[in-house]
Symmetry: C2
Subunit: 201 residues, 2 copies
DNA sequence: TAGCGGGCATGACATCTGTCATGGCTTTCT
DNA sequence: AGAAAGCCATGACAGATGTCATGCCCGCTA
């Protein structure tokens, strides 16, 4: 019997996935969580065999949870399900020790199969997402460029970005300019959206 | 027995919701669809009592589907479930004849209850979303302002917006300036995000 | 009919942004 | 030690953007 922890902020979906997984004879949902922090806390107590975690949750990112889990509970395999799969997320997830990565468009059969696969020590990444990740290429942004671009995402003017990043406005403009050059964008807003779409920020 | 049509592009969720709803004795999922167009086509054939539709789908918007359904199949009550509920969506949905509007964070009990409610001719809107919609206030943007702001959402420069809207750059700037004034923003990008968050565009 | 609001446009002005050159500082690799 | 790369900053300049005033045309309504 494979003991599963399920984390997703959407009640309906979580309950539904639990219902689906419980239909399988060899799978058992032993715990559920609605936030990243809750998932971590629960996992420490329950020590599940497999953790199925949603990528986007109110507090902690799914990848962060996975990272914490893989160091604290090495016996627990982590897999991530997500609605909006972005290439960058996949890379970060794999780096964090995630064993499975699926979009929510898959069928329940696949989900159950992948749970078994990762529990057996295997890995599984959705083929479509994998292809995207490969074609997306590596993140060309330096850490600071990514920081600044992330602040630019909300559309704030440069002065505010500078204040929030504790940099001089001139420096911010340099980073943004460089980031714009590395994306095929014509201004920082487009660049920010582009980078976001690739999961670079 | 209430006959239900389920439309959601996310296989996993759709299947899971179907599983949940089928647990209820008086509910029966008689059809499923993965896109808006598919939902419409299926509904015409199956003529369900209640249609449970996801707001965001690849092709047709959930609200558009609801609109078509309410005119073509008046006996079919439509309800919408969504991950990212925005006030504007709620208003549009109600205007389109939708009887129920729920975020996916609700429990399956609520879902089943609301299905019964709308089938009985009632209405149900998630209280939190309703409160948001009320506090969001009405859309102060003129149609053209909304058009232009929508094009600005992707971060395009003004010249491109002007071309895409078949307006002169100066006019575009006027509309944007006016839109910025109506939001508490300091530039068009912020204004666009703001308006999007309220569901104005 | 006159007034009002909206759609569309132009011009002028101040400010914001993007770009480039330059330089100093630190860390890492060779 | 020296080269390479990243981080931070300044200054200058062109072009993009935000703001305001002004005007014309249209449809609606008092």
């Amino acid at each position: 019997m494979i003991r599963i922890l399920l984390a997703d902020d959407e009640h309906l979906i979580r309950g539904a996935m639990a219902a689906l997984l419980s239909l399988e004879d060899d799978l058992e949902v032993v715990a559920q969580a609605a936030t990243g922090a809750e998932a971590l806390a629960t996992a420490r107590v329950v020590r599940p065999d497999v953790a199925v975690i949603d990528l986007q949750m109110p507090d902690l990112d799914g990848v962060s949870v996975a990272q914490a889990l893989s160091s604290e509970l090495p016996t627990c395999s982590t897999m991530i399900v997500t609605s909006h799969g972005r290439p960058g997320h996949l890379k970060r997830a794999l780096a964090a020790g995630v064993r499975g990565f699926l979009p929510k468009t898959v069928s329940s059969d696949v989900l159950a199969t992948v749970v078994r696969t990762v529990h057996a020590g295997g890995r599984y990444v959705d083929p479509a997402l994998a292809a995207e990740a490969i074609s997306a290429g590596d993140n060309p942004l330096t850490p600071r460029e990514a920081d600044v671009l992330e602040l630019a995402l909300e559309g704030a003017p440069i002065d505010e970005i500078a204040r929030r990043a504790s940099l001089s406005p001139g420096t911010v403009r340099n980073y943004l300019s460089s980031a714009v050059g590395k994306t095929s964008a014509s201004n920082r807003h487009e660049a920010a959206r582009f980078a976001r779409a690739r999961g670079w920020i």
